[in-house]
């Protein structure tokens, strides 16, 4: 107990020390916060800390979900550098952004998701606001739904889902429920389980869907499976909330990655959508993202916008501008935009090729296991299917760091360490 540990300095021989100890005791007693407990340690941070302490020159960090180039270094996109140079020339001011972010940013962002010429933004049906990257956009969305969604206040999430979805939704006042998603037997999509569970969701509930590059599994439904899900979700009168954090980053094709979102809209759903530029533009720390609601009329969109602003203002008043300006510059400047499409395809291609190399190297090692899921899965992460004891061994014996659930960040693999990784994985799984 911390009172006792704080008495470690007590030494009976010194009156002064006694007084110190007493004042320490009384200060804890008078403190407003002596009851505050340490929060649980962050599992991913824990992985990184342990990685940093490891002195093995072959160590690999497959924990954190940030892109790395083939030298294992953070990557600043050429399009981003170019955009920053353009922005610097403009000598822009530091005046407050509108609460909802710049209209230009919001328009470019929703049009990225829905297509440049889409009928929804053309008809003013979207209410789009800048958010603090993906997390902040989800937070705005869940706050809005908590206050205004006319149906059940439970948000149904796939099993598993991004670790932060659950506390975030709960913090916003929503209940959290699950639907089957990942099949550990196949390391693939539990399509029938998902459909069964979705069909059981009470009408007029909310359902969270990862638009592409499911986090943490990397398992995405196929287009025909998305079509089925859309049908059931419509029949059950469920409200789809898409989390799209990897548009472009998954397949290298922005339209392909956004296809499920566009499909649902075409199928007549009204949706909520959270977008992030953290990965696809490498703007992680600049916190650029957006939340959108697609409404049934211009008036509805306007009313919704006004309520979204009322939610944002008491959170942080108005959003940070730098990341949003970069994204806007890239999306609205034709040569920067085409550079960006090359950059994002480059990242996606490198990840896809690492998947291919990992799989082929495992075969070369002589592994008899089916590793098809490594290349079937998509995006930053791969659910390897390794068990916690296998993960532990991988870390202990080979200094390969990953989360207990067997998830690896493919971005942490390079052409120089993929053979070592395959060797290590084979050793612990054979």
């Amino acid at each position: 107990m911390s009172l006792i540990s704080s008495l470690k300095i007590f030494s009976p021989s010194s009156l002064n020390t006694t007084q110190n100890a007493l004042s320490v005791v009384s200060s804890r007693a008078n403190s407003w916060w002596s009851h505050v407990e340490m929060g649980p340690p962050d599992p991913i941070l824990g992985v990184t800390e342990a990685f940093k302490r490891d002195t093995n020159p072959k160590k690999m960090n497959l924990g954190v979900g940030a892109y790395r180039d083939d030298s294992g270094k953070p990557f600043i996109l050429p399009a981003v550098k170019m955009a920053e140079a353009e922005i610097a020339k403009k000598n822009m001011d530091k005046e407050y952004s509108p609460i909802s972010g710049s209209p230009e940013f919001c328009k470019a962002t929703i049009n990225l998701a829905l297509g440049e010429d889409n009928e929804w933004t053309k008809n003013g049906l979207n209410a789009t606001v800048q958010g603090i990257s993906g997390t902040g956009s989800l937070r705005i969305g869940t706050a809005f739904l908590s206050a205004f969604f006319p149906g059940g206040k439970d948000l149904y999430m796939p099993t598993p889902t991004w670790g932060n979805h659950v506390p975030l939704a709960k913090h916003a006042g929503l209940g959290v429920k699950q639907y089957r998603y990942y099949d550990p037997k196949t390391c693939g999509f539990d399509f029938h389980g998902a459909l069964q569970d979705i069909a059981k969701i009470p009408e007029r509930s909310m359902i969270l869907l990862h638009a592409c590059a499911h986090n943490p599994t990397g398992v995405d439904p196929k287009p025909e499976q998305w079509a089925e899900m859309s049908k059931v979700i419509k029949e059950k009168k469920l409200f789809p909330f898409f989390d799209m954090a990897y548009q472009g980053f998954a397949s290298g094709d922005i339209d392909k990655d956004a296809a499920p979102v566009r499909m649902f809209l075409k199928d007549g759903h009204q949706i909520a959508l959270s977008q992030s530029y953290a990965k696809n533009m490498g703007l992680y720390g600049e916190r650029a993202g957006a939340f959108s609601l697609i409404c049934s009329s211009k008036e509805e969109a306007a009313a919704t916008m006004s309520q979204l602003k009322i939610i944002i203002r008491p959170m942080y008043s108005n959003p940070p501008v730098t990341g949003a300006r970069i994204a806007t510059e890239i999306l609205t400047n034709p040569s920067l935009r085409s550079q960006w499409l090359k950059d994002v395809k480059g990242m996606a291609d490198r990840i896809i090729s690492m998947r291919q190399l990992l799989r082929s190297n495992l075969a070369k090692e002589g592994s008899s296991r089916d590793w098809a899921h490594i290349t079937d899965q998509i995006g930053m992460f791969c659910f390897t299917g390794m068990t916690p004891p296998q993960v532990e061994k991988l870390t202990k014996d080979f200094s390969v760091y990953l989360t207990k659930d067997g998830r690896i960040s493919v971005a942490g693999i390079t052409s120089k360490n993929v053979e070592y990784l395959a060797h290590a994985i084979h050793q612990v799984t054979k």
Binding site: I76, T135, P314, S317
Partner: protein, 404 residues
Amino acid sequence: KFASVESAPPIEVFALNKAYVEDTFPQKVNLGVGAYRTDEGKPWVLPVVRHMEQKLAADETLNKEYLPVLGYEPLASAATRMLLGSDSASLKEGRATGIQCLSGTGALRVGAEFLAHIGKHSIVYSSNPTWGNHSLVFLNAGFTSYRSYRYWDAAKKALDFDGLMEDLRNAPENSVIILHACAHNPTGVDPTQDQWRQIADLIEERQLFPFFDSAYQGFASGDLDRDAWAVRYFDSRGFEMVCAQSFAKNFGLYNERVGNLTFVAKDRSVIEPVRSQITLLVRANYSNPPNHGARIVGTVLNDPVLTEQWKSHIKTMADRIISMRLGLRERLEKLETPGTWNHITDQIGMFSFTGLGPLAVDKLIADHHIYLLKGGRINMCGLNTGNIDYVAKCIHEVVTTTQE
């Protein structure tokens, strides 16, 4: 699905700004939104900020990786040190800590969420009047009761100190009390040092919790230490408290959202648990704060040369505002505008509570294209040598022709 969502009422200060922007009258004056303007009526990006941005852009070692959840540590520690002063006992004893937040609003929100969810406080008081967003921040953060303590004496155009003390005396134990560290928004009226001492005595006696809102350190008097006097006084008295700090005005970094939440505890052993709980709150709200503004402020505050440069910018801004206060008061007194006008120079900071009533305000907007908030608050930064004569003349005109 959302057909029943009603349109929310427009937020006054933004609606006012919109009306100003759409007004085509050539002599229009914007005394609404709280941002600094030069004597040419233009926004001012501080030279030290421009310099830093160029330096950061040229630094090949920098990247765009996520900051830690609690922010850029060089910024947080420097901001806390700037607030409490390097002589602070709590700082020296490791009982004070800083957490980067999304400007002042974000710091208020994180602090309020911590106090509500973890500290289990439910009642919060702020001054009447206060910044328009205080109540929503705290109520959305989980407080169940938002109350006011008297502050502005409209008749005397000064602090209603007796009213303030009486209301705090009647506040239930554990109530959180929002205190404006300096340059009270919207009135510009600050307690004297002696009044602060009495407030501190009362807060201690009644077991209330002080939550300082420091949005103008340096910007008010031109002197960082002077503007932090109240916070430092409470710190020296051994209070546990939090303080939301904004770098929007004093660094002119409005849209980069740079802020800090300073946390002072009685015992250093609570600091880590508190930080870990705040980590969970931040993660559920926005994961981690933005990088760009943090690097600017964090670098400047940790570099003595750049800090001196910055201090000279603050003095420039504060001095210009003070000269506008003098100028407006002089003109109104020269015109013999009915009423007393010493409050304009007694008050401090960006804002002045003019004492103008709603009818006079309406007239100023409709007839003279001078935009100010309904409560009579003007932004001194909106005044400059080019428009001060016009504004004084119009104030004289509406005061002499309006019966409130």
